[in-house]
């Protein structure tokens, strides 16, 4: 029997994949002209834009689309591997928007000449496809494959810069830790498959809901717990949660900045999508098992992230640890899933959306400044407000947003949403830990912001770059919209 494929459902990943192929072909066959890199960039950007347009159309038409379904006759009800519902649409929108910004940043990076342009965009689009697929996947196989599709291109992208020892070292580290985490996750998946006997998330949920298990009760529960934790490992690495956070700063520093932005936003979003799918659809009834684990991991992540970021003197490393801390804040509401299921997922996804916007602004400006001064030390930012006020103001705005203080209203509302979910779920201690963490976080955010406004006697030359400026502008506008009307996100997340 041949599965019928609903091409309109699969449209978005398909477009991205085809664009990737097109970019590779263009790179291969087009004569090597100086403007070539920019053309490929535009093509990639066009691909992502078209995908975004299609996505918006599907969102407007509303309704759910399912495809790659298993016919009901075999075993229980029909369960499909690829589902396009509200949750998926939000994640796709998030990933594609971030993709636009990353592509714009890459244009500046690729114009440097040290990076093969065609391969760069091909891999970038590959990652985007993987991320979009992951958001829509509803069975373990598709989840694993799309997770790998997100990870592998990033290793290559990190190592892409020629003759850059640090980049290759970062890539190797990323590769090692990622592969080990994937292996651990696969082992978890195999155990989960062993216990539940099925690969589809809804069937696993049905299995646990019905309560009967193939193996005798004692062992079954133990194996399930181990399976859950091991599966968590895979996504924990992607999200850079505590035991899996060691690689973050080294890789962000070593990798080119667009890749760091990619890692901190898109791959993290994919990680969260996978985590939410597994935990809330497949293992919803096992919440009593994984909720405390997620709570402890969230608390440790935010604390480790903030504490490590306090004494940083390198801009990108600081942003790396700050993104680790922020993923702690995103994880926290998930722990309250037992108490308030809908709010928990909503809060987590909302915070992720706010975080993505704020973080991209910061990475954009860091990209701008690092073009003038490679060293990227915090002291290079001193007195930025005096000779490039717009960049300084947007960086200050994003840092204050990340800290969660007005005038950065986006960050403030994001934190309020998360705090509300935690307090609703009854996790008082986690709320207090998060409050203390906001204060520690503010310490290094305000330290950096203060540097921007302290005058520096020696003026430094600033080299502008159009695409990055557009990227920063785009991200700032999105953050401003989120600040003034956060309802846009909250209603979308639902």
């Amino acid at each position: 029997m041949i599965q019928s494929i609903d091409y309109s459902a699969v449209a978005v990943p398909l477009i991205l994949a085809l664009t990737a192929g097109l970019v590779l072909l263009l790179d291969a066959f087009l004569p090597a002209r100086p403007g070539g890199g920019r053309l490929l960039g535009v093509v990639a950007l066009g691909g992502v834009a078209v995908a975004l347009a299609v996505l918006v159309a599907q969102a407007v038409r509303g309704g759910e689309r399912r495809t790659f379904c298993v016919p009901p006759s075999l075993g229980s009800a029909a369960s499909c591997s690829f589902v396009l519902d509200r949750f998926t649409l939000v994640f796709m929108a998030l990933v594609l928007a971030a993709g636009v910004v990353v592509v714009l940043l890459s244009m500046a990076e690729t114009s440097g000449g040290r990076v093969p342009v065609g391969e760069w965009y091909f891999l970038l689009l590959g990652t985007l496809t993987g991320a979009v697929l992951l958001a829509a996947s509803r069975d373990l196989i598709m989840l694993v494959v799309s997770l790998e599709l997100v990870s592998l291109p990033v290793f290559a992208l990190t190592a892409m810069r020629r003759y850059d020892g640090r980049a290759s070292e970062a890539a190797l580290k990323l590769f090692l830790v990622s592969v080990v985490s994937t292996a651990i996750m696969l082992f978890g998946v195999s155990l989960l498959y062993g216990v539940t006997g099925s690969v589809h998330l809804d069937r696993i949920a049905a299995f646990y809901a019905s309560g009967q298990s193939a193996a005798p009760a004692g062992v079954g529960q133990g194996v399930t717990t181990v399976a859950i934790v091991l599966v968590l490992a895979g996504f924990g690495f992607k999200v850079a949660a505590v035991p899996f956070h060691f690689w973050a700063a080294d890789v962000y520093q070593g990798a080119p900045i667009p890749v760091a932005a990619l890692l901190s936003v898109i791959s993290k979003a994919a990680g969260f999508a996978g985590l939410v799918l597994i935990l809330t659809t497949a293992l919803a009834s096992q919440a009593a098992v994984w909720a405390p684990v997620v709570a402890v991991i969230a608390a440790l992540t935010m604390t480790a992230g903030n504490v490590l970021a306090m004494r940083q003197r390198h801009a990108v490393r600081l942003l790396a640890w700050s993104s680790v801390a922020q993923s702690g804040y995103i994880l926290a509401p998930l722990a309250a899933f037992a108490g308030v299921p809908r709010d928990a997922v909503g809060a987590s996804v909302a915070y992720l959306a706010f975080y993505a916007a704020m973080n991209l602004v910061a990475f954009g400006v860091v990209m701008l400044v690092s073009r003038a001064r490679e060293r990227n030390d915090l002291d290079d930012y001193q007195g930025l407000a005096f000779h490039s006020p717009v960049a300084a103001l947007s960086l200050a705005f994003s840092l204050i947003c990340l800290a969660g203080l007005p005038p950065g209203l986006a960050g403030l509302f994001a934190k309020v949403v998360v705090f509300r979910a935690i307090v609703d779920g009854g996790l008082g201690w986690l709320a207090v830990v998060m409050a203390v963490n906001t204060v520690i976080g503010l310490y290094y955010y305000i330290a950096w912001t203060a540097r921007l406004f302290t005058p520096l006697s020696t003026g430094t030359h600033r080299s502008g770059s159009a695409p990055v400026a557009v990227a920063v502008g785009l991200a700032v506008i999105v953050t401003l919209v989120f600040s003034v009307a956060p309802q846009v996100v909250l209603s979308a997340v639902g």
Partner: protein, 127 residues
């Protein structure tokens, strides 16, 4: 035969792979031990598939995918190791210490007070 045997073998195989990753200094040998871990997963999957007599054979399908993923990873891994060798002339994982906390902030020096900007310095700077 009872399901426990393959699962235990798979677990042991997995542990050997983990040991290989942690103990070996040479990057390529680390890659090999990662392969070992992935194969342990395959064994597990196939064993469960047969034990469950799953009509959809989810386990075996996933095994195929895992094999493909392993291949892709190893290809990419070796490419990265090659790049590291070309840049650093050694693929000893222990010696790749360039990107580290202390490394990054060596030349800048630890901050002497919370904000790291001597206020006297910039006070004179002010007109």
């Amino acid at each position: 035969m009872h399901i426990v045997y393959p699962v235990v073998v798979s677990a042991l195989l997995f542990s050997i792979g983990v040991y290989g990753v942690l103990a070996r200094r040479n990057a390529i040998l680390v890659l090999m031990s990662v392969e070992l871990m992935l194969n342990a997963v395959n064994l597990n999957l196939v064993a469960f598939d047969v034990w469950l007599r799953d009509r959809l054979h989810g386990g075996q399908v996933l095994t195929l995918f895992v094999i493909v993923i392993a291949a892709a990873e190893i290809g990419l891994g070796l490419a990265i190791v090659l790049a590291v060798y070309r840049n650093r002339q050694s693929i000893d994982v222990d010696r790749l210490r360039d990107l580290s906390e202390t490394g990054a902030s060596e030349e800048a020096g630890p901050p002497e007070e919370p904000v790291g900007v001597g206020e006297d310095a910039d006070r004179e700077a002010r007109p």
